[in-house]
């Protein structure tokens, strides 16, 4: 990820030239999202491995694609994203191939599959539909989510919150976190890659000494809103959804700068089979209709150009996420070891 790709007003050519591209990434001027009506009909057999998504909304997308394409025989295998990634690797090792596509809810699992050489390349016109910083030749991000700091607006002022996530280990604020939660572990992986093992271990120890533990990140946000803690660590959509159901909720979102605290992660899809059918299926997920649906119904961040972000979210252009190739988040094992070693898990 190139954080500066979000900065408005910079020319893309100068941007890419100034920063240098990470391996496997490209910067092309994104084409606007296309309408589903411009896509070819899908015909034939496809097997999709689908990581568990948000409340059945991915299922609604798949049902709509099936309805629009009666000639498509879409078989779906569902499960936890990490389990499906392990299954794909195991099947490949055994010489068995069952899936044509893998739609994962996190990039860690995407990295696991691309690292194994199982992904098939995407055509440029698909890659170029994605926003700069999300253009990868071997997989396509679908929607994004940002790491945020939800805070209680009656207990904390925005200017009291440090813009460095590392500084929160030394703060006097009461913190809430969900260390067993997969998104949190991806965030710690990003911190480990960006800041190193020692700094991350110290940060975990520091926060652990003052943080209240929750099972999930919606729990963190609700704990913040109730005032059990001043500030928490959570993906952005939990706060937006809580505020949708409770407009006077005493919670708002803060962002750190240029560090793992404002990591932008993504769900993504990989084609595991050569040919037009899986590629065209991916095109459906990148249409303005699907991107808009996931933005409005699930508060996920559209990653194609020309689709509005969820209401209430600070524009990506105002956020400065860290430089990180998202596929590196697949390196989760050392993160879990580290979290266990310092007594967080």
């Amino acid at each position: 990820m190139q954080r500066r790709t979000f900065v408005q007003g910079l020319g893309l050519a100068g941007l890419a030239g100034g920063l240098g591209l990470l391996p496997g990434m490209s910067f092309a001027n994104p084409a606007n999202a296309v309408s589903v009506d411009s896509l070819p009909k899908l015909k034939g057999d496809l097997t999709l491995y689908l990581g568990r998504g948000e409340g059945g909304l991915y299922e609604n997308v798949l049902e709509a694609i099936k309805k629009k394409n009666p000639g498509l025989n879409l078989q779906i295998r569902r499960g936890a994203t990490a389990e499906l990634a392990n299954m794909l690797v195991a099947e490949a090792k055994a010489g068995v191939k069952r899936a044509d596509l893998f739609w994962a809810v996190d990039t860690g699992s995407i990295g696991m599959i691309t690292n194994q050489g199982l992904a098939k390349p995407l055509p440029d016109d698909v890659v170029n539909q994605l926003k700069p910083g999300f253009q990868y030749p071997m997989w396509s991000p679908v929607t994004g989510r940002i790491r945020t700091l939800p805070y209680n607006t009656e207990r904390v002022r925005a200017d009291q919150i440090p813009d460095s996530v590392m500084a929160l280990a030394d703060t006097d604020l009461k913190l809430g976190w969900a260390p067993a939660y997969a998104s949190f572990q991806s965030f710690v992986t990003a911190m480990r890659i960006l800041e190193g093992e020692k700094a991350t271990a110290n940060w975990l120890k520091g926060v652990n000494s003052k943080a209240k533990k929750y099972a999930g990140e919606l729990g963190v946000v609700m704990g913040v809103e109730r005032g059990e803690v001043d500030l928490g660590f959570a993906n952005h959509y939990y706060t937006l959804r809580l505020k949708a159901g409770k407009p006077d909720a005493k919670v708002d979102i803060a962002y750190t700068k240029n560090d793992a605290g404002c990591l932008v992660n993504a769900s993504g899809i990989i084609s595991l089979t050569e040919g037009d059918l899986p590629i065209n299926f991916i095109r459906y997920l990148l249409t303005k209709e699907v991107q808009s649906y996931l933005a409005t119904e699930a508060n996920e961040i559209p990653l194609v150009a020309g689709v509005a972000p969820p209401v209430g979210l600070t524009p990506l252009s105002s956020i400065s996420p860290p430089d990180l190739d998202l596929r590196k988040l697949a390196d989760i094992r050392p993160t879990l070891d580290l979290m266990r070693n310092v007594g967080v898990l």
Binding site: G56, L57, A180, A215, L218, M222, Y293
Partner: protein, 270 residues
């Protein structure tokens, strides 16, 4: 327990059960085969097994009553229960009664192991026998639904629920299983099942639900993460754990209605 008594149980059960209470996705202790997917053909066998269990459990209590604690090996009660095909029939069809049977077995076993009065042991035995016949009633009812094709075949592997309302149904079945595992005195398994249910199921729908009823999500969050695990860890007893689960299921019914309505009104993708 007489058959007239069992008939009363069945009538009560029919009133208490709804078609939706039967589960088709299970993780049973016993093998899954014809004896659970063709219940009707095995009803005679199940009735014999329930009678056999009643006699065997009764014999254990008889020995205790006549000869005292040292003469009774109560572990044999678990062996009897695990020996019969009726075990997996009720486990796969109606988990709440399955839990009650385990509760009854441990009620008798614990009373004997503690050297309770024979009258107290007989009271526990009566509850166990009641649960067994109630279980037979549930299996008979399920067999009728099965014959009419109203319930799916029991699968050995779970399939993922795909809609929010299917997720709610699945959560309710899993919570019944929590009570059953706790009643089996497998507290760690029960606690793990609570957390897995939260992370693998509830967490996927609570985002949509909180937009509809934030206090309801707060309540269920507390139930999943505090009330239910604590009831298990503090060993408050099967009735207390079941009370927490029953209260959660009422809230989940409300969640079901809200999510079903929201799905009806949700905008279409294309």
């Amino acid at each position: 327990m007489t058959f007239s008594g069992s008939a009363r149980c069945k009538i009560a059960l029919v009133l208490a059960l709804s078609f939706g209470s039967f589960s088709s996705q299970v993780s049973a202790n016993g093998a899954i085969g014809d004896h659970v997917n063709n219940l009707h053909a095995h009803l005679g066998e199940y009735a014999e097994e329930v009678q056999w269990l009643e006699d065997k459990f009764g014999a254990v209590v008889d020995v205790y009553e006549k000869q005292g604690k040292g003469k009774v090996d109560t572990d044999v009660m678990i062996e009897y229960w695990e020996e019969v095909d009726f075990h997996s029939a009720i486990e796969t069809q109606y988990v709440p009664v399955y839990a009650t049977i385990w509760q009854g077995i441990y009620g008798v076993k614990t009373a004997i192991d503690k050297g309770a009065d024979a009258s107290a042991v007989r009271a526990e035995e009566a509850k166990l026998v009641h649960a067994l016949w109630q279980g037979l009633g549930a299996v008979k009812l399920a067999s009728q639904y099965q014959k009419k094709g109203l319930i799916d075949q029991v699968q050995t592997t779970e399939t993922e629920p795909t809609t929010p309302t299917e997720v709610i149904d699945d959560i309710k079945v899993r919570l019944d299983r929590v009570v059953a595992k706790y009643a089996e005195q497998l507290s760690e398994v029960a606690t793990t099942l609570v957390f897995d249910t939260y992370l693998q199921r509830f967490e996927g729908i609570e985002g949509a639900l909180i937009e509809l009823d934030a206090p309801l999500v707060e309540d269920l969050e507390k139930d999943f993460n505090v009330s239910l695990p604590q009831a298990i860890e503090q060993d408050k007893g099967v009735d207390a754990v079941r009370d927490v689960v029953n209260a959660m299921q009422v809230k989940l019914d409300k969640a079901y209605a809200l999510l079903a309505e929201a799905e009806k009104n949700r905008k279409s993708v294309f």
